[in-house]
């Protein structure tokens, strides 16, 4: 079949993918730079698939609507941007503990506080290290193209249901707002089977289903925690995703995720034109993080340079992965400033000069 190719904003491509992925319900609240997701769905979704789209009174209400809707075993989601995601953290912790599948999209902007509406990667810690209270993990996917903004939606729903765990697409304001060519996938039929754990009204032939995150007995609570940790280990074993570019002969490897990885590819190209052998490593899943794969590359190269739009958050995970084998340098911009390939090239040259000294 002929593929449908179109030019779309990242946020719109994601919203279109949501409809095509057979999503049943979206609950959200407007916030820049992701409001197009809610707007697109409000315009398109119900008429095309009967998908429920509801603008909540706040992000707090939105995530709790997602919690309730997810209890029914349907494909449900929300989207927001940094300050809104902060408001959702309590609900996300409940959803993680109650083991409910859902998709949460964070189109990150600069912070802390009200910050700026420009792109940032400052929510890395919040996304991959828990974010809310207690010991839990989200599966976190970081697209770097508008194409991936769309492609990661059905993948997220698959992972969410496979592990009964919330999945976050961690993207940024630039990817949300920029237009690119997108190849749209064929619509996936709506999910019709009823999940055995879902609260859909108790048939007379089964026990009543209870969805809760309250386990007041410490023994029971620890049992739940151990079960969750075991699940996260399985996710770490099975779901690591990453991309490697020109690392075979590289002296220095740039490590970056999302939009920044693309800028790093350009920087690596510029570097090779100058005779500097540079490769790029892009984690696609931020949890599970590709610790082992980075460690393997560290055996073959002299330096890592981590580039992020934050003060060095993924840097900590790269250092954990490398475990002191080689130096891990860092270059970061904050406040909504996107680093340029030339800046990164300059940093690469500085590292090489430093080595010669």
């Amino acid at each position: 079949m002929k593929k449908e190719i179109t030019l779309m904003k990242g946020n719109e491509a994601l919203a279109e993918a949501v409809i095509r992925a057979g999503c049943d319900g979206y609950f959200g609240y407007p916030i820049t730079p992701q409001s197009e997701i809610l707007e697109y769905l409000a315009r398109e979704a119900y008429a095309r698939t009967g998908m429920v789209v509801l603008q909540a009174e706040s992000e707090v209400a939105a995530i709790n609507m997602v919690y309730g809707a997810a209890c029914t075993g349907k494909k449900v989601m929300t989207s927001s941007s940094s300050p809104g995601i902060s408001l959702m953290q309590e609900g996300i912790s409940y959803i993680a503990c109650a083991e409910l599948p859902c998709l949460i999209v964070n189109v990150v902007r600069g912070g802390p506080g009200l910050g700026t509406i420009q792109p940032s990667q400052g929510d890395y810690f919040q996304a991959v290290k828990g974010g809310g209270h207690g010991d839990y993990k989200l599966i976190v996917l970081a697209p770097s193209t508008v194409q991936e903004m769309a492609d990661f939606v059905p993948l997220s729903f698959d992972l969410a249901f496979k592990y009964r765990n919330p999945v976050m697409i961690l993207t940024d304001g630039a990817l949300g707002q920029m237009m690119e060519k997108v190849e749209l996938f064929e619509p996936i039929p709506r999910k019709t089977e009823i999940e055995p754990w879902a609260t859909v009204g108790k048939p007379l032939d089964r026990e009543h289903n209870i969805i809760t995150s309250l386990h007041i007995e410490p023994d029971k609570m620890e049992e739940i925690n151990l079960h969750l940790q075991e699940k996260y280990k399985q996710i770490e074993k099975n779901e690591v995703r990453y991309e490697i570019l020109n690392c075979e002969d590289a002296e220095i490897v740039l490590v970056a995720f999302g939009l920044v990885a693309r800028i790093c590819s350009k920087a690596a190209e510029l570097a090779r034109q100058k005779g500097i052998k540079v490769g790029v490593f892009r984690p696609i899943t931020l949890f599970p993080f590709p610790y082992q794969q980075l460690n393997n590359i560290a055996d073959k190269v002299k330096n890592f340079l981590v580039v992020e739009m934050n003060a060095g958050q993924m840097l900590e995970d790269v250092r954990l992965a490398v475990n002191g084998k080689i130096p891990v340098e860092f270059y970061g911009r904050m406040g909504g400033i996107v680093p340029s390939p030339e800046e990164i090239l300059q940093k690469l040259e500085d590292i090489l000069v430093g080595e010669k000294l």
Binding site: L54, A61, A62, N64, A98, T199, V200, G201
Partner: protein, 274 residues
């Protein structure tokens, strides 16, 4: 039909009905089948047990056990799901109506209700409460008002009466410091999304019967899909009021009910709607 002469067959069936009335299951009071037979964690004399029983009875009578999904609150009734034999979801503090909205939007033909205390519904969850009412979600909200935070040990609630003592108002609620008690039921009754709004109590057998009628109406009106049904149940908290169950019911009658008067605040105009 009334003048019709009964056939022999009809006479026999009428006779059978009389016989049925004499059957044991019609004469002996029994635990509703939706109420699970385990000891409750509520304090002796607390109104939650009665309210749970009424919900279970109504679900039994309407035959909707397989179509009902409840949302349990944070607070004393957080374990409501242990006692009601229906699918249930535990919500974060104050968020029950948002959770119920999510459930109901996914399953529009199911009976969805929340069961919330005064702290849950009228303090931390005021935003969700007002907006869910205003959207006219077709859910039933059962609001237990005992004027105090029970589970956390008797702190002031939004509904605590003026002068009423709590652990955080040890000298009585002072309006100049703590503001006024919140009549949230009167507040939401104004909203066009609310279809049915009433206030009942569970302190006397007569009031219990009225409360049951209200809950029955609440569930039945959901079928009209014309908006939210809101039932406030004025209840007691013997433990935190530091009273015996009997004293607490008397105190409720003398102090709570004058401020929170019983009766319907809004009823559907059935002649028009049906």
């Amino acid at each position: 039909m009334s003048n019709q002469i009964l056939t022999a067959e009809e006479k026999q069936s009428e006779h059978k009905e009389e016989e049925n009335i004499c059957l044991k299951e019609y004469l002996v009071y029994e635990r509703p089948k939706t109420l699970i037979d385990i000891p409750m964690h509520y304090c002796p004399g607390c109104g939650h047990g009665v309210a749970h029983k009424l919900i279970a009875e109504v679900i039994d009578e309407l035959g909707i056990q397989d179509k009902t999904i409840g949302v349990a609150p944070v607070g004393c009734a957080v374990f409501a799901y242990n006692y009601l034999d229906i699918d249930m979801v535990e919500a974060a503090h104050g968020r029950a109506t948002a959770v119920a909205t999510g459930i109901k939007r996914m399953l529009p033909d199911k009976y969805v209700f929340t069961y919330q205390g005064d702290g849950d519904l009228a303090a931390i969850g005021t935003g969700e409460t007002i907006h869910t009412c205003n959207r006219g979600e077709n859910i039933l909200v059962i609001f237990i008002n005992n004027g105090i935070y029970g589970m956390t040990g008797g702190q002031m609630a939004p509904t605590t009466l003026i002068g009423m003592k709590s652990t955080t108002t040890p000298f009585g609620r002072d309006v100049s410091v703590m503001g006024n008690p919140l009549k949230i039921t009167e507040l939401v009754a104004q909203l066009p999304g609310v279809y049915y709004c009433t206030r009942v109590a569970v302190n006397t057998p007569n009031n219990v019967r009225r409360a049951k009628k209200a809950i029955l109406n609440g569930f039945k009106y959901l079928e009209h899909k014309k908006g939210l049904c809101f039932i406030e149940i004025v209840s007691n908290c013997p433990s935190n009021w530091k009273m015996t169950p009997v004293e607490s019911n008397k105190w409720l009658e003398e102090n709570m009910l004058p401020f929170y008067p019983l009766g319907d605040l809004k009823v559907p105009n059935l002649s028009k709607t049906e």
